[in-house]
Symmetry: D3
Subunit: 226 residues, 6 copies
């Protein structure tokens, strides 16, 4: 199958956690080794935020901040590429249009951000669209989409499924700042909506969540299309 996996910034700690990266790489490499095609998109995390904050204080516009953050996502993508080992393609693509040149069955291509104004969530959605992926898994530091913020509200309940329209209406309530994109920015959701990409949100704490989701297990939150 053809899969796209977005690995949230939470995987890329201030001091990169090599054991965590190695475990993630091993699990994903196993999935690829079965003959699957994988595109993995690395988020920015704390290191991106630190550079973006400094740039903003130095007077940078948000597009320039985005470019700095993209640089960090590419460094993160390199670490993930190393953790994946031999199944990973040697180059980090920097243009969406080159992606289909590099993908193939039994191979993983890792990338970070691409352009200012696009979160890595949007990159993951576009990658799924242009590679005609069978499934997109968006892995973050929470187990999926909740009725409220699970870190603040103990009564928050995990939704088994949510419509893209509902996500869009939520996402649009927030603001877009470089390095502080919401769970899903409007662009990512719009792309998912137009391409009707089967998508699940899962937690990245346990790497097997991701491969379970790719193999059809009902875990985290499924996005539904009307």
């Amino acid at each position: 199958m053809k899969a796209v996996v977005k690995l949230g910034g939470a995987l890329f700690k201030r001091d990169p956690d090599v054991n965590e990266l190695r475990a993630m790489g091993k699990t994903l490499a196993g999935f690829v080794g079965e003959g699957n095609q994988l595109v993995a998109v690395a988020g920015g995390g704390q290191n991106a935020r630190v550079y973006i904050d400094a740039a903003r204080k130095l007077g940078a516009d948000e597009s320039t901040c985005d470019l700095l953050g993209i640089g960090v996502t590419r460094a993160n993508a390199d670490l993930l590429r190393l953790a994946l080992g031999g199944v990973a393609f040697a180059k980090i693509p920097t243009l969406l249009s080159e992606l289909n040149q590099y993908t193939s069955a039994g191979r993983a291509v890792v990338l970070g951000g691409l352009q200012p104004g696009q979160s890595t969530n949007a990159v993951a959605a576009l990658s799924a669209e242009i590679t005609r992926a069978d499934f997109l898994v968006n892995a973050t530091d929470v187990s999926g989409v909740y009725t409220a913020d699970p870190k603040k509200d103990p009564k928050a309940k995990l939704l088994r499924s949510v419509s893209v329209e509902k996500l869009l209406s939520w996402a649009l309530a927030g603001n877009v700042y470089a390095g502080k994109y919401e769970l899903l920015d409007p662009l990512a959701l719009k792309i998912m909506q137009r391409a009707r990409i089967p998508t699940r949100f899962v937690s990245l704490e346990d790497p097997s969540n991701i491969t379970s989701a790719l193999r059809g297990r009902e875990i985290g939150t499924l996005v539904s299309y009307s």
Copy 2:
């Protein structure tokens, strides 16, 4: 001053109207000739739609359709560049990050689309942000933002001003298809919102509307920020 002008697809007819382009070029070149810096962003128009429709029927995903449309916007940008004459920079930028290398007072830089998933409206907003433009004029085939579709409803009234939040809520009701981006797609509005770019929507039928708006005349619809 530093300005960004988005010229809607309506300027780029199926059979390019050389007189109309020449008039637009002359008016904008006059503005640039006064020592102003201009970034002009060309839309796709009917020729983009024709190629995108064919690609979609041939089974292309929307990202690939976007790439085809971007090709046409760059051809349109070339025509506009020619119409601008000597004040126009010789190259059509293809990455946002190279824009600031080419801009300067007394010079116009013309570009088309940049990346799949981004309308040329978003490109115009990002260009305004990264060049720290004083003003953005978005010129289309209608005189601004109306209470209803002025082509269908004779009672539609032109709004003198509208908040970015209102525009966002309207824009999000629609869907995102390559070549059929709404008046303003969510991404463009989000960028305008985060950068608080002073923006006016005007009609491109009369080129002087654009330069009037740049010179501070109250024409068309002004976007307000809370």
Copy 3:
């Protein structure tokens, strides 16, 4: 075998004819699927002419007109690539020197124009030379080379074979304008002559003409070398 096919602008209608493109794609993909290597070169057609005419009226030099036309041939190449489906390489090459990196048995690489001053006929000849193609088929809207213009003169007779020297002497009588290159421009013929590439001119109305010619059937006009 290694083949190069030039598909004349007549295949790329003002409103792209999706059925015609699909039929062409299917036939050529069948040929590739047998383990052959194909380079297909797309011409410009009416859409290229429209942009070039506008540019020329706006005062563009012919090299700039060529560049605009090349943009349209690349959009055409993208449509053909889509019509070819899975056997087509994902990228449209833009430099002759990268062609040999992408070609392989069982794969088609599609390209358009490359550089000002070179027609797509010349690109096809150069592609045949650098890939050491076994055969070049040049498909246009006429059935081959005639003793006179078959659209004007009912007595015009199709030549079964013609020497490259004869073609050169004819081609050189005309003028070189962007978008109005003759059946064969001097450069294309010179390249064919120096590389002695086996070449046939056939009609593109029926896609099977092209594959028949590639399989050795005597159809259209064969170019002979002294």
Copy 4:
């Protein structure tokens, strides 16, 4: 004024003649220093021939031979750039489309070959066309166009002027081999013809011939257009 000068391979000896290059650089830099814009195109000469011959013996096709020769013309362009000193732009352009970004009054841009199938004479003609040059001087090891080969026939007479049509008919009698392009290949003449570029052929033995021709002196052979 805007000028293009083609410097034939004869200027670039097997062992580069530094004094000759320095004299040429000084003369051309003087012309540029008066506020003129110059594009200088370097030919290949003996070093190009040596590499091309070896490549051909190793089984290379002519396009690959052209690419090797282009490499040598760029090394020659670098030497000429050094000889021009501070008025020369620091980069050797490799695409025709970037040329207009680098040219300006009081500056020289030096380049070599661009693409297989194009001689540096064609590059010079295309450069003159796209920069809208006022004059093109083609400097070789003979004083202009003769009625016969002046190196073999003592009765050969220098023509004061010759029509482009006549040159075309002569040029086409020969063959096109990489590194052995005739005085003027068909493509170069076709470009000169379509752009009607005022052109003179002069000897490069005395650098002042070139600047004299640029300043309007009747020296060498003038190309006439019907």
Copy 5:
């Protein structure tokens, strides 16, 4: 004058110190504003080390580690570029060969690392060589070259001047690891030696040390050439 300044990794803290960067930017911008040409080279610092360490633990070879470190130096260069404000060129060069295209009097060009196997000290030396800089200042977290490690040995004395041969013999005692290049790696010293670039080592704690050194004040340690 033409200057090159290397800013050691100590300027680029784990959490970038915006005030320190702003002070450095202001001081250097003042120097540039007097009509001087500046190339500033940013080092990697702690953030580079963190990524390199993670990559090495994930099994990366040292060249790949170098590439990761180079990415961080470019992010640092972006921060410094922002701190320099309007006098800084908008692009971070990534190839030595493009540097001379961007430099000019009254402008600063900022860059980070270029290639694996080259420290940013070597980049600074190569930049000084290719721009023919009048002076190179290498600013680190110590006040210059000492007789011993001033952080460990209280009797360590600052040398007013030291020969390049002596530095070479010291530098070569150590090993080359990505992110742990010595004060000066052998390559940087070899380049300084071959180009005989006037060079001073100063402390970057006080930005005025750098401009003082550029203005000829005897501060830190001067490198002498035999």
Copy 6:
């Protein structure tokens, strides 16, 4: 196995010796044909020296001289690529970071120099490091490392083995000039040292020396690591 072979400038004669190149190509292609991966790095030789000398006399700095020399090594790489025939990859890489994209078992990738300040010996060492080569063979016009210059001193004895530290101390006695890099420049040795690459110096007079060394025969001089 994965091998890197450096072919010294002596293989690339002033007038390229096609028979010698063909013999080398055939021998190396045989090795590749057994399923091995090869990276071959071409040196500059006499043609590089001629261009560098001219550039230096024209006032070029050493970095610019290096760039000219790199151009010649790439032309040499092209000849070697042709001599290798079908096992050779069609493109000469110009960045170290793209090397791993092109290498594979049963394929040879040929390159020349990469960057100013790096000899092709350093390029070979970096290539061995980043491709994790099992063995590096450095082939020059002498049979290995001697106790003295074998061309001058008849008592010079070939060393069977030498430590990298010893080589470093010798190499550093010399100076670094473009085109006159010592047997091994400091950078190449430092890279070998940090990556502990098994390396042999052999003569390139007999191509089978190289493949013998790759197959484990004790020939020439082995580099030892403490």
